[in-house]
């Protein structure tokens, strides 16, 4: 077990710096007004990169037992199931129910 990895200031500040740059980048891309599907795709790719940086380095998953990483991935797997199965209904309705 390596549950007690001590992060150096260099790592922590480097990750925070990368998060800062990615935040500025995603706001910058927003003002470029990319054509329809690309705006959300780029925004989500940047968000996933930022979230991964936080999980891997700030939450120590890189140095931690792999079991904890598996728990996190399982959460996203089940979230994917929830969204996937829901969309199988909501995307294929002939008409949106008016009260919705």
């Amino acid at each position: 077990m390596s549950g007690h990895h001590i992060s150096t200031d260099k790592t922590l500040l480097g990750v925070a710096g990368a998060l800062l740059i990615l935040t500025i980048a995603t706001v910058g891309v927003h003002y470029l007004h990319l054509p329809n599907p690309w705006s959300i795709i780029v925004a989500m790719i940047v968000a996933i990169m930022k979230g991964s940086l936080v999980a891997v380095f700030f939450m120590n998953l890189y140095w931690d037992t792999k079991f904890n990483s598996m728990l996190l991935l399982a959460a996203f797997l089940f979230f994917g199931l929830l969204v996937g199965l829901t969309l199988l209904d909501t995307l294929f309705r002939p008409e949106v129910i008016p009260s919705f």
């Binding site: 549950g3 037992t65 728990l71 996190l72 929830l82 909501t90 995307l91």
Partner: protein, 218 residues
Amino acid sequence: MANHSTTSSHSRFQQHHFVDAEQQFDAAKMGMWVFLVTEILMFGGLFAAYIVYRLWYPELFVLASEELNTLWGGVNTLVLIGSSLTVAMAIKSAQLNQKRNIAINLGITLALAAIFMVIKYFEYTHKFHLGIFPGEFYTFEGIDHPKANVFFSLYYLMTGLHGIHVTIGMGLMIWLLVRSTKGHFGEEYYTPIEMTGLYWHLVDIIWIFLFPLFYLID
């Protein structure tokens, strides 16, 4: 490992049903990750609702997002990233036994969390002033879409649940600050800071997704 329990040097926070402090720490951390899974799935229900409505009414999300202030959303993103950094610094300080730095970093984290909530307060009250309330209480007429209230119901539910988490996090930071001034934490024992840190980072990650999904829609 042998005869570890006979030494009197172990932390006073070690509980007798664990082999050693290491096992206690790893067990606590795994339990915390299981809790974070349930948190992700709780927010997951709201994210699923968001996806369903965004696919039903894509034009609504473009129109309604104009009412959200990208500048303040961006500032809040940076505030939370900064607070994630300081909470990681607090853990590092504990590991290096720098007891004063634990309290300093926790204090900065608490202050950044408070700044986040103050900005959120001004964002909310500005919308309330315009009549932008969730659901049937919505009276704003500036958005030309019959389902405009749906966007703001999602906005208030998701940022509201997130805000509740930030508020709980502030309570945890105060608790840690009190304990750190009593000298409870150091290289031997810092489990509560590590667990609160994991919780705080998850709250940060959720905001990292909420920000582009609400504020950055063309």
